[in-house]
Symmetry: C2
Subunit: 345 residues, 2 copies
Amino acid sequence: MSTMNDVALRAGVSLKTVSRVVNGEPSVSEQTRQKVNAAIAELDFRPNSVARNLRTGRIDVVGLVLPQLSQPYFSSLAEAIMREAERHGLTVLIELTDGDAEAEMALVREHGPHLGGLLMYPVGLSDAEARTVAGIVPTVFMSERAYDAPVDRVAMANREGVRALVGHMVSLGYTRIAALGADHSDLPERSAAHLRLDGYRDGLRDAGLPCLPELVIDVHPQWSRQLGAAGVRRLIERGTSFDAVVAFADALALGALHAVQEAGLRIPAEVAVAGFDDTDEAGYSYPSLTSVAPGTAQIAREALALLNDRMNDAAAQPAERLVVADFELMVRESTLGGTAAWGGA
Amino acid sequence: MSTMNDVALRAGVSLKTVSRVVNGEPSVSEQTRQKVNAAIAELDFRPNSVARNLRTGRIDVVGLVLPQLSQPYFSSLAEAIMREAERHGLTVLIELTDGDAEAEMALVREHGPHLGGLLMYPVGLSDAEARTVAGIVPTVFMSERAYDAPVDRVAMANREGVRALVGHMVSLGYTRIAALGADHSDLPERSAAHLRLDGYRDGLRDAGLPCLPELVIDVHPQWSRQLGAAGVRRLIERGTSFDAVVAFADALALGALHAVQEAGLRIPAEVAVAGFDDTDEAGYSYPSLTSVAPGTAQIAREALALLNDRMNDAAAQPAERLVVADFELMVRESTLGGTAAWGGA
DNA sequence: TAATTCTTTGACAACGATGAATCTCGGTGC
DNA sequence: GCACCGAGATTCATCGTTGTCAAAGAATTA
């Protein structure tokens, strides 16, 4: 590897002048600039970002803290964020917590101080911990839940999305619409589960339909395919009549698809099913799954915009900004029937 | 952030002594060591890895170059690699190429020189380029294809895996077994598509069955669900009789599931289907999908072991090591029927 | 013409750590 | 009693950049 010094020697100028050219600073004559650029090209010089970071203190690496990567929603979120970060000249360092609240804090404490910024999908963070995190490094949360802390946050339209989904079901003539994915355990007030359940109630109210307790299916502790299938099986076994399932996550919905078909019911003729997240699989399941696309690209864009602001001057920004991404209803076979919709998102 | 200097001042020793304690070097008296450790704890000091990297030249960041992240195989591979890297004290920096051959080289040229090592899933790399990459940074390829270059490589048992899959079909009584995912375009000699097709032929030969050209379905340019479904539809439209589909990737198999069911055929009673990769979805599709698990955890383990070796002393290692991971056949409903297998991997 | 400004460039220190070389000092051997 | 040794600690230079300050020369002004 050649260094700035090599370039300087080759171009016959001082090291500092090379630095100026590399950083596009003004007050370098056109002639000198060309000489230096030629030398840079000849030596295939690339600035050593480690040395630069050390000197400037500004670090162009941002951490991305996620529970896991193997779940489609997270991997596509990560992908969107990486693409967006590139546009900002930032490098993304992914860290996995396995959804473990302690690991979250441990990671932040360990790596936070040496990161330029942090994008975090918090799972078990308390308000106090959120404040601590924000004190260590410029942070943006990607979270359903609000924190009592001076942190920016990007959220998806949980409530509105499910509300629209219910509206869609109603418009197609379904009236006994089950909600799959409620959670009445000790979840925090404004968790995704609660917000989505609120959206479900909103949708029913919009349509003048009653909210029947027997159609609200609890799923605990996680929104997985197995538990989704299990929830629907319970519903069927109890003999509760229903003609639609609004699942609070695609994983649940895929489980529901399975359980419904297993019971010999046709989708969507006898039962319509819809999910939330619009993961890749939604477009390719059998039948393909109607789902709410939570605007992942927009989430990535906004999160990086917020973070970049804050990295550039931490103090000046208003303390606690919130961006809610737009959602889009992706209608597919599981509510509409036909096969035309299959194979695409 | 406190620095070593702060710690030194606090402990009343020299900066270098702190360095010794932090790095666990000998020739520090027990008494001094305790004083220093106390100071470290009091100040919550953490060594600045940027400065350390600059000074030592040894970088504990390894790049992981992948085509994408949103595809389940890659995200679970990435996850496995990150966990494994942690055990080696290494940090993983993921870079995405979108499967673009030029982007691969551009990324390596750009970041390679400042990385400690590189794990790469190459897509469009030529032998010459592979040599170039290896010259820039210690590299391990995770690749089906062999390269004429002094690089270590970790591969999966492409050929053996498909062979076992065909054997499984045969043992269940299927005889007209289609191969889904051949590619007779200008792919390199030892690509995954070719190796898996070889495995298919092996399996038929093992069973004394003929390899019928009309049962070999080309899929090009990529192994996606749509193209998988399209391939099976072609087969059905041509009126070719078949009773099993061995797909060279889960994505293809999921498309096949769809196309087969769409045609009103029952799985596995009339047609059995199996895939390759054992992605999460395989366990949860309808019906659940028999698949070859390529030993991702082992791949991650071996890749990091090889890379670590090479990072520690580049020259000493034998030039071109190859590790082939063990595979495992995950039998599920799509070949075996029943529902017992559903829901788990 | 001399004084002043502006433009372009360079010398030097510093970021926070580590490697090499050096120093100190109590303990040995003769 | 003197040279020698080695463990334990220190000093100094250095990794590859960038920020600060100053210098040299060209251009402008009085």
